[in-house]
């Protein structure tokens, strides 16, 4: 790499970065993609059987961010001192080529259209006073109809398996009847249903809910995507989440985009390149390029570009904006600034049902994106009026392949011991005869939940760590409790011998020690008003118009659905408008 100036720099080699790099090279631009982690090739380290190793994989975090170099600090309340997130637990950001898109599970949703204009919808239905004090409820500034072609494109690139409900307004299958209309079928038929999921399907239907097959970016059959790259049929090996899919069945940037992109001479991927900051001109209106640290030589490198795409993991995007001085940092006291505002998560709890000793759930069989869900209590699909909270949760059995170390450390559940006498008996029963049901819920944004720079702790390169101020709020706790209550009749209809409902408790404090989800969002949100959003509806910085910030960082609220489908659609949406509008006339695409 000798060029000192390229057309575009893409920061981060995950889904968002790979999509933008592909689109921009297609548009004729020279693109350098900078990835701070290692090169990752499925044919090498994802190979069978060495990748089928739980200790090295999900337990020692082979594909995840190495916190020794950089982490975040966390506190629950703004008056608390934040402390470093020293050991990976509550959430697991990826690192290396593919990013979190290499270690994800593969649940591949579109969006609940009501969620895109949640503020407008809540106010229209229940009035402005329905929104709790301190909740920053906002719209995305983009509609489902506008995004539909890009959801469709992403599914075709990912090789997504699923069953539709309607296509072009006509009923086309037994899919999710709450799902929005589609312009085309899924590229592949729905994945097979494991025993636990089929039990959930019939029980949920008996109770009067509307079960559907989870849309999965796990290939239910051999597939060749529009870029000409191939996927193999998923064999339910159970090594999705935390692993690299030796079957080439789980969509990843590594399998679905990069093999095509790497052949383009206008594209250059540089690994072990840690971007320190985006460089701005004197009046902070234009980016001139980036400064990155070559982790091999330990030398700082300046690279200039006309266009800078910030497309790292959600909170790295926000961190980089703060370190670079792009936009105004959010100040919760004054309620000014936008960078770090509306930091959101998801509200996820797991319930467990035990079946008879004759029913084996074979928990090790699974696929990360497969399962059966209901949307009856997601988004605006039910009447919130008498309930007094905003948001909702899909509910599902998503048997993704339970491995023994994680199961053993998690323990048998219920009131059983986590070690010593009685532990093994209970563990055997749980591992062989139980199943889990998740309430995978939304999380709203609040004035005192945000991201900023930590005043004390720094990363290995001397830069301040990002600080998270996050806690559970009453609205989301009550939402979770309500939806989990709806799981109970399903479990009873399954004929479970016993069960334990997992739900947040009143006043529960966010606990960093227990894995919940890696679905972090917000902090650099999209919107229509530069006073309350960082980027416009094309994900272009309001302040520095040749910087686009792509990822779940753009979500104003944490949605009930898994975020990757929405991230991919937003990436294709932004890329389309960069190609068709921005490149012809660089500058702000929306006037502030």
């Amino acid at each position: 790499m000798c060029a000192k100036k390229v057309d575009a720099i893409v920061i981060g080699a995950g889904w968002a970065g790979s999509i933008l790099a592909k689109e921009l090279t297609e548009a004729g631009l020279s693109v350098v993609m900078l990835e701070r982690g290692d090169e990752r090739a499925t044919a090498v380290e994802g190979d069978y059987p060495t990748s089928i190793d739980e200790l090295r994989g999900a337990i020692r975090h082979r594909l995840f961010q190495n916190l020794s170099q950089s982490t975040v600090t966390i506190r629950n309340m703004p008056d608390q001192e934040a402390l470093p997130y020293r050991r990976l637990a509550a959430f697991l950001p990826g690192e290396g080529v593919g990013g979190a898109g290499l270690h994800w599970s593969g649940v591949h949703f579109r969006v609940a259209p009501d969620d895109l204009a949640l503020r407008t919808n809540v106010v229209a239905r229940y009035g402005k006073n329905f929104i709790p004090e301190g909740m920053n409820l906002q719209d995305y500034g983009v509609t489902y109809e506008e995004l539909e072609p890009f959801f469709d494109k992403a599914e075709k690139v990912f090789g997504t398996s699923g069953e539709p409900y309607t296509i072009k307004g006509k009923i086309a299958g037994n899919g999710n009847r709450f799902a929005p209309d589609r312009s085309d079928a899924f590229p592949l038929p729905a994945m097979g249903e494991v025993y636990s999921a089929s039990l959930f399907r019939s029980a949920a239907a008996n109770v009067g809910y509307h079960p559907y097959a989870l849309p999965a970016a796990n290939a239910s059959a051999q597939y060749t995507n529009p870029y000409g790259v191939q996927m193999g049929p998923c064999n339910f090996c159970g090594y999705c989440s935390g692993y690299d899919c030796y079957m080439y069945s789980k969509a990843s940037p590594n399998v679905n985009i990069l093999p095509a992109l790497r052949q383009d001479p206008k594209f250059t991927l540089i690994t072990k390149a840690h971007v320190l900051k985006v460089n701005l001109d004197a009046d902070k209106k234009k980016a001139t390029g980036v400064s990155y640290l070559d982790l091999r030589t330990k030398k700082q490198v300046e690279l200039d570009a006309d266009l800078v795409i910030i497309s790292a993991f959600q909170f790295h995007n926000v961190h980089l904006m703060l370190l670079s001085g792009i936009g105004q940092p959010y100040d919760p006291q004054q309620n000014t600034g936008t960078v770090g505002r509306n930091f959101v998560y998801q509200t996820i709890t797991t319930s467990r049902a035990w079946l008879s000793p004759k029913q084996y759930t074979n928990l090790f069989v699974g696929a990360g994106g497969a399962g059966v869900a209901i949307d009856d209590f997601n988004s605006m699909n039910f009447d919130h009026g008498p309930l007094g909270f905003v948001g909702g949760s899909p509910v599902w059995v998503n048997q993704a392949g339970v491995k023994p170390i994680a199961a053993a450390i998690g323990g048998p559940g219920g009131k059983a011991p986590t070690w010593g006498e009685g532990y093994k008996d209970a563990m055997v029963d749980t591992y062989r005869h139980s199943l889990t049901i998740d309430a995978h819920g939304s999380n709203m944004a609040y004035r005192d939940v945000y991201l900023d720079l930590d005043p004390t702790y720094s990363n290995a390169y001397g830069q301040p760590l990002l600080r998270m101020t996050f806690n559970w709020k009453d609205n989301d706790i009550r939402m979770n409790q309500y939806v989990v209550g709806k799981i109970e009749p399903i479990i009873k209809a399954m004929g479970a011998t016993r069960y334990s409902l997992g739900m947040l408790k009143d006043g529960e404090v966010f606990d960093t020690r227990r894995y919940q989800t890696t679905h972090l969002g917000g902090g650099a949100i999209m919107g229509t008003d530069p006073k309350t959003s960082c980027v416009n509806r094309y994900l272009q910085s309001w302040d520095v118009s040749n910087v686009f910030v792509i990822g779940a960082s753009a979500f104003p609220q944490g949605m009930g659905y898994n975020p990757t489908g929405m991230v991919a659609a937003l990436a294709y949406w932004a890329a389309y408008h960069i190609r068709t509008t921005y490149l012809k006339n660089p500058g702000p695409m929306v006037q502030a």
Binding site: E54, Y239, K424
Partner: protein, 232 residues
């Protein structure tokens, strides 16, 4: 991954993996054989003698022998933990270990400056010191089994400190590493004879269930296989 060369080792390992052997066999003889094998054939590289005795006893209490099969010490969990101490994990190289180190609310997670290997060293020494003070100069491994269990419960519920380590932090480290040893691929030194996987019915590295996506609740019929091809 080395395949164990000793025929006797293979034989005992094969038996270990069989649940019926443990339920119905006269397993005392074999337990003794394995005991002598697991504690004598492996020489710890990190832990000293006193620490090693502590670890063997504690692992066996956390994951005890019963009708389902042998304890964690027999399954090689102490060997696993000893070997882990000289990995990036054991040296704390996977964790953010920059200061300042401050005590915080438990929900904000681990805030000690100690990597696992130092945590074990400090906490085991302090635990044995505590036992000597309260049990006439004995060490943990010399206590009767019910006393060991009682003490681990004290640590687990832990208001006390073991050196710089809160007892419950140490206990949880020990519990997690013990279970990692029992249930990880045997290439790391534990899960001998694949007995951990056999207990749960986990088939190991088979990782192909095309025909077993949904067999309507029937048990999966095949035993485990390790990454190296070892079966049980």
């Amino acid at each position: 991954m080395k395949i164990p060369s000793s025929t006797r080792r293979n034989f005992t390992a094969g038996l270990l993996g069989s649940a019926s052997f443990w339920m119905y066999g006269g397993h005392k003889v074999w337990a003794d054989a394995l005991q002598s094998e697991s504690t004598q054939s492996y020489k710890p590289k990190y832990f000293n003698h006193e620490e090693w005795l502590f670890l063997n006893a504690a692992c066996a209490r956390i994951f005890p022998a019963d009708a389902h099969g042998p304890d964690a010490a027999l399954l090689g969990a102490p060997e696993f933990i000893d070997r882990q101490m000289d990995t990036p994990y054991g040296h704390g190289e996977l964790w953010y270990m920059s200061g300042p180190f401050k005590e915080g609310a438990p929900n904000l997670g681990y805030q000690l400056s100690l990597p696992p290997r130092d945590l074990y060293r400090q906490a085991i020494a302090a635990a044995n010191a505590y036992v000597r003070d309260h049990h006439q100069g004995q060490t943990f491994s010399q206590l009767a089994i019910p006393e060991q269990i009682a003490l681990l419960k004290v640590f687990e519920q832990g208001k006390m400190a073991l050196g710089a380590v809160p007892a419950h932090t140490f206990f949880e480290q020990l519990r997690q590493n013990t279970l990692e040893g029992v249930f990880s691929d045997p290439l790391y030194g534990g899960n001998k004879g694949l007995a951990g996987w056999t207990l749960l019915g986990f088939p190991g590295a088979r990782a192909d269930f095309m025909d077993w996506v949904n067999q309507k609740g029937a048990p999966y019929p095949f035993g485990p296989v390790s990454i190296s091809g070892e079966t049980a």
